[in-house]
């Protein structure tokens, strides 16, 4: 510990005055994003909830956005940090377009840019509090990757953030296969989102599914999943443990 009370810490961000300058906790958060590769490209799903702690404060938050011509970005975590990331990417795509030279940043390039961004912020103890999913298609090549708030990044055939990692990915590991049709892909994603809806307390029943193919991005209108609450275990939850609430 510091024996000389008057000595300034070398990194301003680690001293007592620093806490107002960096992110310590997330405030308005989005929950899981789930995505998978299918025959023509990538399918991604996320609900439209923005929680303020345990309150479901905002119910119309779009957590998936197209980036440039070839990519789709989904985010969970702090919504304001997601908006900041969109601003960075907007500048990036703008400068890329201004070259006007027939070259363009594809999903792999955007994913790596985001990895650098997240990792460098983490190194300064001022993270962007998000888990990101980046999917896209360029010149027939499908790409799906993820980056966490500490800069961990990898690609896979199916990815998820937050609770999705625990509840959705086991389903995907069992049931995903190459060359899923669009309908099968959507059914699989809905299966995952339904489980999340039952079991994740910050999930809401209003979701969007986004698709990205060589032609471009389509994000569906918000819709809700059919749920069934009449399971006997739900009907009388205290049956097996009297006194529980």
């Amino acid at each position: 510990m510091n024996f000389m009370a008057s000595k300034q810490p070398e990194n301003f961000l680690l001293g007592p005055e620093s806490d107002s300058q960096r992110t310590l906790y997330p405030y308005v958060t989005g929950t899981s994003v789930v995505a998978l590769k299918y025959k023509d490209g990538i399918l991604m799903a996320a609900d439209m909830g923005g929680s303020y702690g345990s309150t479901l404060r905002y119910k119309n938050v779009e957590r998936m956005k197209p980036i440039g011509k070839h990519s789709l970005l989904g985010a969970s975590g702090e919504i304001s940090d997601f908006q900041e990331i969109l601003r960075y990417l907007d500048d990036l795509i703008l400068y890329d377009n201004m070259w006007d030279d027939g070259n363009s940043l594809g999903p792999k390039e955007v994913h790596n840019y985001l990895t650098r961004l997240m990792y460098n912020r983490r190194n300064k103890f001022n993270p962007l509090w998000n888990s990101l999913v980046l999917g896209g298609v360029k010149k027939g090549e499908k790409y799906l990757g993820t980056v966490s708030m500490i800069g961990v990044n990898f690609e896979d055939n199916h990815v998820a953030t937050g609770f999705g990692n625990h509840l959705a990915r086991p389903i995907l590991r069992q049931e995903w296969h190459e060359n899923l049709s669009f309908e099968d892909g959507v059914k699989l994603l809905e299966k995952c989102m339904r489980v999340l809806l039952y079991r994740d307390r910050s999930a809401i029943n209003k979701l969007q599914i986004a698709k990205i193919t060589e032609e471009g991005v389509t994000i569906s209108q918000p819709y809700s999943l059919k749920t069934y609450w009449e399971f006997s275990a739900f009907a009388n939850p205290a049956q097996g443990a009297v006194g529980t609430w």
Partner: protein
């Protein structure tokens, strides 16, 4: 060109609207030993004549690998060329690190040109005295660019710079229409023949020239002396038979567009960097 009262500072315009210091820098390029470049749809070949200070010394390095997909041949002040190659390598590596993707050569060339332009507009700097033939790949295929000390850059199907480059240019002008669809080996052969033109009588052997290739699926590399000597031997035999055809070909050559003259008219005429 003759000395005049407007040529001391790079930031002084002449009444005719010329920057003489920049033009003098372009003269330095003409004094360097020749470098040539030519490209097809998928490959680019760079070649240069090796000049050594004396028989005792080794020759100067004039071809630099910038990245797996980009290489550069220089003519002029080799020291300036080395520094610019280091800049180019740095830019490529930084881009690769951030985007895990190769830097498109067209963008590198613009950055290089902007860097050269800065030196034409600061009173405490001087222009780089080196011309660069940049060969590289990007999404749209193979490209060859020429970067000038003036800060201009041009794209070429084929080009030659340095001393006695006019002889090579004449040869390339005759043949360039075939380059787009030429095979990689034919392209290398044409490069060696273009170099032979600049030697003007001296024997062509692999110790006198350096050849480098980059293409789709082929990272930039300099061909080793043995391979080059083999190719020279292979076509020297054919070359003697071609001589009578070449003489007939010269009369029939039309004027091609992609190679504007660089500063050919001394003193009078349009300032070279305006082209």
């Amino acid at each position: 060109m003759f000395r005049n009262q407007y040529d001391t500072d790079v930031t002084t315009w002449s009444p005719a609207g010329r920057l003489f210091q920049v033009e003098y820098a372009m003269e330095a390029v003409k004094q360097g030993s020749a470098a040539i470049g030519l490209r097809s749809k998928t490959h680019i070949v760079l070649g240069c004549v090796n000049k050594a200070n004396s028989e005792l010394s080794s020759h100067q390095k004039k071809i630099f690998k910038v990245d797996d997909h980009i290489g550069v041949a220089i003519a002029g002040l080799t020291a300036d060329g080395r520094v610019l190659s280091r800049y180019m390598r740095n830019e490529c590596i930084n881009y690769s690190f951030t985007y895990e993707s190769p830097l498109p050569v067209g963008r590198l060339v613009v950055q290089l040109a902007d860097k050269a332009q800065v030196c034409t507009q600061r009173s405490w700097k001087r222009p780089y005295g080196v011309g660069l033939l940049v060969a590289g790949l990007d999404e749209s295929g193979a490209h060859l660019y020429y970067n000038c000390p003036s800060g201009n850059y041009f794209e070429y199907q084929a080009f030659a710079i340095g001393s006695r480059s006019q002889a090579a240019k004449t040869y390339l002008e005759r043949k360039f229409e075939n380059f787009t669809d030429a095979s990689r080996d034919d392209l290398v052969k044409d490069a060696i023949m273009a170099i032979r033109e600049t030697l003007q009588g001296e024997t062509l052997k692999s110790s006198v020239c350096t050849i480098a290739v980059v293409g789709v699926g082929e990272p930039f590399h300099i061909l080793d002396q043995a391979t080059v000597q083999q190719m020279i031997d292979a076509f020297e035999i054919v070359g003697e038979q071609e001589a009578p055809d070449a003489a007939a070909g010269q009369e029939a050559s039309a004027e091609p567009e992609p190679e504007p003259e660089q500063g050919a008219a001394a003193g009078e005429g349009v300032a070279p960097m305006d082209i």
